[in-house]
């Protein structure tokens, strides 16, 4: 399992989200995050070459038009 220290978990929460983790919470987050990182690495082994992500220009255009009409 990937290892993440409580100090690292605290620093990430502080720098990325402005959130202060307690010592106990930081230890729990570090443990859970380590497991999650290990599991998510499996995604990196999937062969997704040539497969497009679900992003479409019609969606972007339609939402922009909706925002325009709302404002």
């Amino acid at each position: 399992m990937a290892r993440l220290t409580a100090e690292t978990a605290k620093a990430m929460a502080r720098e990325l989200y402005g959130y202060e983790l307690s010592d106990d919470a930081a230890a729990a987050v570090a443990n859970a995050a380590g497991a999650m990182i290990t599991r998510s690495r499996r995604l990196g082994n999937l062969d997704l070459s040539g497969v497009q992500p679900p992003f479409g220009y019609p969606t972007l255009l339609a939402e922009a038009e909706r925002i325009r009409k709302r404002s």
């Binding site: 990196g44 992500p53 255009l61 922009a64």
Partner: protein, 462 residues
């Protein structure tokens, strides 16, 4: 200074007519381009691979077809180059990298397949910033590409070879790709036309990705008319690319050649600040030129564009990390320092910020559409400064370049870079013409009218 064949003086529009009328031979034309590459490219380094035999064979075929009365269109027999990010079946396609230094694709990119079907002749594969991830084209694996106007300066990037080849006259037209400005920045640095058309207008199949939701593949050419002719060939739905648009493809040359009487044009306030004097002076002169062409020019505001480049960079870096993650684990030493550092920096972008940046794109496009409600097109400088020296590390790429181009990758609108003149140092400066989604016809109309009023730029001496 190398002696250039007069055949190299013709743009694609002129070549198309002369080749069709058999006033010019595709074989002689291709030989002239290959000779030119031989004469100057050791200094410019615009090519990674020159496909001599393929080019000659395609030229012979074009000659025979045209002689038999089977003219395929304006690109039949026209020698072009492709950014080495575009797959070409059986031909080395490196992405400007060491990692793919011996990669030979088993199929063509759609953009090349369409140009080949239109009869274009492939001169070779063009140099670029490694994996298209940067704007200098200082390539550590294949050598730095040089600006033909001043060989000590960058041609811009990432499609640096594609821009340099146009003004060095080592290709009649080229293909580039643009994720944060990589067609428009080299076009601006090198003094040619670069068109990033609407996202999804041109298939990305067989083009190595940098950032899937921001990547565009498009023309770099001598003139707006040539860009229109090239877009006529490459635009349209592609069953290999599910994100490609099914919007009808118009004739992009349909409104070229006219004036701009009665047209309203907006200047984007947020993108006219912080530019150098040579860029500002030429941009202001261009605005006066639009007035002389019969257009009304007014300032417009798109407040979200102040941070527009940051939105683009967050999306770009997150998506680029996803593409490069496995190689970064297995072969980090095979990346150039700057690209590896960018990918490492990408590891600090949070999922929350990525999703928020994607959502912010909607707001940016909504504001841009508001600005276009009363204006046919918008204008902005293409970058803050002329091409810097290759060894210069003092300027900020995002602040001086991507700030002006990146917002239109986020909004997906068409944006075309066109030269506004040369600085006192003899370096090209440029502006962008930006349009409504899928309205490349108007963008090209405006660029063409301005270009004819501006007149030709002095050519670089090589």
């Amino acid at each position: 200074m190398a002696t250039a064949s007069p055949l190299l003086d013709f743009d694609v529009a002129a070549l198309g007519q002369k080749l069709r009328a058999r006033e010019i031979s595709p074989v002689e034309l291709t030989a002239a381009y290959l000779d030119r590459i031989e004469a100057v490219d050791e200094r410019v380094n615009s090519y990674i691979t020159v496909t001599h035999d393929t080019a000659r064979a395609m030229a012979r075929l074009a000659e025979a077809e045209i002689a038999a009365g089977n003219w395929r269109g304006p690109f039949h027999g026209v020698p072009i180059g492709l950014k080495d990010l575009c797959y070409t079946k059986g031909i080395l396609t490196t992405g400007g990298s060491k990692i793919l230094g011996d990669f030979v694709p088993a199929h063509d990119s759609t953009v090349w397949a369409r140009l080949a079907a239109a009869g274009a002749v492939l001169l070779g594969k063009l140099n670029l910033h490694e994996f298209a991830y940067g704007a200098t084209s200082n390539n550590p694996h294949w050598g730095a590409c040089h600006n033909p106007y001043d060989l000590s300066r960058i041609p811009g990037g990432s499609s640096g070879g594609s821009g340099a080849a146009i003004v060095a006259r080592t290709a009649a037209a080229t293909i580039g790709t643009d994720t944060g400005g990589s067609i428009r920045i080299p076009a601006a640095c090198c003094g040619c036309v670069g068109l990033k058309q609407t996202w999804s207008r041109v298939s990305r199949y067989g083009v190595m990705p940098l950032s899937d939701s921001l990547d565009h593949t498009g023309p770099i050419t001598r003139t707006a008319r040539d860009a229109a002719l090239m877009l006529n060939v490459i635009a349209g739905y592609d069953p290999h690319d599910a994100t490609s648009s099914r919007e009808p493809v118009p004739d992009y040359t349909s409104r070229l050649g006219g004036d701009l009487k009665g047209m309203r044009i907006g200047v984007i306030r947020e993108l006219t600040t912080g530019v150098s004097a040579p860029v500002a002076d030429a941009f202001n002169a261009a605005l006066k030129q639009f007035g002389a062409l019969g257009a009304t020019v007014d300032e417009v505001s798109i407040p979200s564009f102040v941070e527009g480049a940051q939105v683009t960079m967050v999306v770009l870096m997150a998506e680029a990390l996803e593409f490069h993650e496995q190689w970064m684990r297995e072969r980090p030493q095979d990346y150039g320092h700057d690209v590896r550092s960018l990918i490492e920096t990408s590891m600090t972008i949070s999922a929350v910020n990525y999703v928020r940046a994607q959502r912010e794109r909607n707001l940016m496009l909504a504001e841009a559409l508001n600005a276009l409600e009363k204006n046919a097109v918008l204008l902005a400088p293409a970058q803050a400064i002329p091409a810097p020296r290759i060894e210069d590390r003092s300027y900020d790429l995002v602040e001086n370049m991507v700030r002006f181009t990146g917002p239109f990758n986020a909004t997906g609108q068409p944006a075309l870079s066109i030269p506004t003149g040369l600085s006192r140092e003899g370096l090209p400066v440029a502006m962008q013409v930006i349009g409504k989604p899928f309205d490349e016809v108007t963008v090209l109309q405006v660029a063409d009218a301005y270009e004819r009023a501006r007149g030709p730029l002095p050519q670089p001496e090589l």
